[in-house]
């Protein structure tokens, strides 16, 4: 079944770093309303987005920042970056319980990660997507709200055969759906790998126009999913007949695109779909950036439309509706199991795959 439970005690992408500044940003993550802002010295802060007094959202105008303090726009309750209330209107005594919950934050690889859980993260750090801030790559990115449960997006991204049908004319060609996959699950690391290597494939417009390749291509899709939030697609594109990567890993005859998604559940039926495309070619070509940004956003919106429809269908159906899984779903089934384990804290061996 599609996973609907949330995996707590995990890192989630709450925003891009460039979205968090000296104006408050409100995001709901795992049903928790969270206020994001940046202190005057540039530190990103995450705290409960509800005033302790009458629960007015601190992200909503006329709430505002004054220096390193957030002032509630309803009655003026004022909070520091540690969540402690420092001012209450018309009285000296500040109630001991006047404190907002704060969330651990890590700013990494252009993302603001927030730890959602009942315990501290300790030494646990978010997984990496270093291409997004590498000078050797040029990156375009965005975020689309999805009115569907996050499990539907996980299913979607773990099975790229849907590119042929849903994204034809952009990234889909017949070879994607026709080419068998290999799937690996690293139980120790909690990572799902799905690979599809196409030896001789049509070059879809997404890659033809950005790379300038005219003919057929060797196209590798290597997925690396770090549940619950981070999804990496290592995409290698080269003209058919180009040499493979050298033993030392250099691969000067190919174009590389790192497609990154952060899948952040908002509520049971809504999700933040963060997407980024990093390339190691045409780094300074704004036309290529514009093209890849527009194309990928179009592709993401095609997914959003399909998954929103699917959410409506599933929401109307009985709890125990029947679905059918086939070979292309091998990786998605593995991801479901890991997510169910994370959500329920049950051993892997006791987590059924359905």
């Amino acid at each position: 079944m599609i996973v609907t439970e949330f995996a707590r005690n995990q890192w989630y992408v709450a925003a891009y770093g460039h979205e968090v500044g000296r104006r408050q940003l409100g995001r709901t993550i795992l049903n928790e309303p969270i206020l994001l802002w940046r202190t005057e010295d540039g530190r990103a802060v995450a705290m409960a987005d509800r005033c302790v007094h009458r629960r007015f959202p601190l992200s909503e105008s006329p709430s505002h920042l004054v220096g390193d303090r957030v002032v509630c726009g309803y009655h003026g309750f004022t909070y520091g970056p540690d969540g402690v209330c420092v001012a209450v209107p018309a009285q000296q005594r500040i109630p001991r319980t006047a404190r907002l919950r704060t969330y651990p934050v890590v700013e990494q690889d252009s993302f603001v990660w927030v730890w959602i859980g009942d315990r501290e993260p300790g030494d646990t750090l978010p997984p990496r997507a270093p291409w997004l801030v590498s000078p050797d790559y040029a990156t375009v990115c965005g975020m689309e709200p999805l009115n569907a449960r996050y499990g539907l997006l996980v299913d979607n991204l773990l099975d790229l055969s849907h590119e042929t049908y849903l994204h034809g004319g952009y990234i889909g060609t017949p070879e994607v759906a026709e080419t068998p996959i290999t799937t690996e699950v690293d139980e120790d690391a909690g990572i799902v790998y799905v690979s599809r290597h196409m030896d001789d494939a049509a070059c879809p417009p997404f890659y033809a126009e950005s790379t300038g390749i005219k003919g057929r291509i060797t196209r590798w899709q290597d997925i690396e999913y770090h549940p619950p939030c981070l999804y990496l697609l290592h995409s290698r594109i080269a003209p058919v007949g180009s040499p493979p990567p050298a033993a030392d890993g250099t691969d000067s005859h190919a174009f590389h695109v790192e497609v990154v998604y952060a899948i952040t559940p908002s509520t049971e039926n809504s999700t933040y779909d963060f997407w980024a495309v990093a390339r190691d070619f045409a780094l300074d070509d704004e036309k290529v950036s514009d093209f890849l940004r527009d194309s990928n956003r179009t592709v993401v919106l095609q997914d959003v439309a399909a998954l929103n429809t699917l959410e409506e269908v599933i929401a109307r159906e009985p709890d125990r509706y029947q679905e059918l899984s086939v070979n292309i779903d091998t990786g998605g089934l593995a991801a479901r199991r890991l997510l169910a384990r994370m959500a329920g804290d049950v051993p892997a061996s006791q987590t059924a795959v359905r």
Binding site: Y193, D222, H256, S325, T330, S349, T351
Partner: protein, 73 residues
């Protein structure tokens, strides 16, 4: 430009599933060495996650086998 080093590392608890080219069959390998083919990924995962039940280790490769001290006749 460099190629990504993808896939799970050796020496870990890793399940591997390979779609056999030209067929509809999936070849599953458990971290214990057991292998089996399936046509249904749900049944495949049930078997993999059922480890060690029904997971007979792969017979050792010839070059790994010590030479027999004597042959039965």
């Amino acid at each position: 430009m460099s190629a990504r080093d993808s896939g799970a590392r050796d020496g870990r608890t890793v399940y591997r599933i390979r779609w056999l080219p030209g067929t509809d069959r999936l070849h599953a390998s458990c971290f214990c060495g057991a292998e089996r083919e399936f046509e249904d990924p749900v049944i495949l995962w049930d078997w993999l996650l059922g480890h060690p039940e029904g997971h007979l280790p792969r017979p050792p490769a010839e070059h790994d086998s010590p030479a027999p001290a004597a042959a039965l006749v």
